[in-house]
Amino acid sequence: MRNFFYLLYKSFVDVAALIVVLFFFQLFVIGEPFPDMAKMITGLVLVVFGLFVFMRGLEMALFPIGESMAYSFAEKGNIWLLVLFAAAIGYTTTIAEPTLIAIAGKAAIITNNKISAFGLRNAVAIGVAIGIAIGTLRIILGHPIHYYIITGYIIVMAMTVIAPKEIIGLAYDSGGVTTSTVTVPLVTALGVGLASSIAGRNPLVDGFGLIAFASLTPILSVMCYGLLVL
């Protein structure tokens, strides 16, 4: 019971800075009371409690599932099956991402369907799938990450020059929308679990980095899509 309150308190501390900032600016800078105090407090209680429940679920399920699956794949010894799994996680979580659906819809309207919502969502999702697949291969091979990422940056810069102007902003943004709150812990646990189950790999040096790949490759795939359709 004591533990329960301690963990709840920890979640409160995580949100505390945000609460202080909002109260300070509302009361002292804007100089107005909150329009609906009851709603404000209910909302804050929900935020703290929701974060607390989410963190417990993370420890109970998302982390152990990611790690146990990484171990099972390593045990099975089939690299390509693992890469396929990683790509499938990347594709399915991205294609259904609510932020991406909203952005793709807007992009289709603005460009008179020259960019189709379906096409853009697939371009991003395929980009994420390829990124996580390459990232998983990197963990298996044990290569240093920065060669991959720096090469990626250089290609992004080069593609920015040749890609149609209308697609560039969208492409850069799509790198940021692909990292949802459920995918991040799962993919992190998968990478770390994989690095700890292969002899000679260090979970810290080799296990992290999948998210970095997943944020970089969609920029490239969206620019390629732009080159094809515009």
């Binding site: 995580d14 945000l18 909302g43 929701g50 417990r56 679920g57 799994f85 991402e97 991040v184 992190t188």
Partner: protein
């Protein structure tokens, strides 16, 4: 109606977020690996907790944080409130990053793996200070003008330089933390601030300048985490570094 819409919308977005991941996990677990999940009861309770927790969190954000944060961003984004807007950008960058669930998850994992060598609280602070400084710089750019790509290119160059100076253990983690900060809380508030500013200051384009702010929030944590590691290494073993 005013309350019902966010309740339904959040429920829909959480299930859309979770359903495909669950489907892929279950398919590979039972069809490909042909293994039962270890501790099925605990896993089920945990997955329900993830979805319920995320749902309550989003619902609370929609009730308390987003309306007030967005109206604040709108009322602060006028050219005559330069100092307050900069301070607001700094504070909102720091505080939203500290509360970001995805960042909490990655930082906790890093602390666990480094056996306490990279405390979650320090990592999160390094990221949050990075987001805060990045956003302040981004808001400054909207006020004074200047090409977005110049800032981004400079950011890349600094990131690459720090990559070669930092201990190799931190590099993948630092790269990951750039993508993690722009998820649930930060993006809506930052986009509101950027679009508000860009539409109130003459000569700025909401599409280019407003969204460009997110790029600052995503790029700067890489620099601050790598910087934190370089400084920590220098303090711990100055001789090795000077070698």
């Amino acid at each position: 109606m005013e309350i019902v819409t966010p309740i339904l919308y959040d429920l829909l977005s959480v299930s859309r977020d979770c359903a495909p991941v669950l489907a892929v996990i279950l398919f590979f677990q039972f069809v490909v690996l042909k293994k039962a999940l270890p501790n099925p009861h605990k896993m089920t309770i945990g997955l329900v907790a993830v979805m319920a927790g995320l749902y309550l969190f989003l619902l609370g954000l929609d009730m308390a944080i987003f309306p007030i944060g967005k109206s604040m961003a709108a009322s602060l984004s006028t050219p005559d409130k330069y100092v307050w807007t900069m301070l607001f950008a700094f504070c909102i960058g720091y505080s939203t990053a500290m509360a970001e669930p995805a960042l909490l998850a990655v930082a906790q994992k890093a602390e666990e793996i480094s056996a306490g060598g990279l405390p979650s609280f320090y990592l999160r602070n390094a990221v949050a200070i990075g987001v805060a400084v990045g956003l302040t710089l981004g808001v400054h750019r909207i006020f004074v003008g200047g090409q977005l790509w110049v800032y981004i290119l400079c950011g890349y160059v600094v990131t690459v330089a720090l990559t070669f100076m930092a201990p190799k253990e931190i590099v993948p983690l630092a790269y990951d933390l750039g993508g993690v900060t722009t998820s649930t809380i930060t993006v809506p508030l930052v986009a509101a601030l950027g679009i508000g500013l860009a539409s109130n200051i003459p000569g700025r384009d909401p599409l280019v300048d407003g969204f460009g702010l997110i790029a600052f929030a995503a790029g700067s944590p890489m620099i601050s985490v790598l910087g934190y590691a370089v400084i920590a290494k220098y303090i711990k073993e100055p001789k090795k570094v000077r070698r």
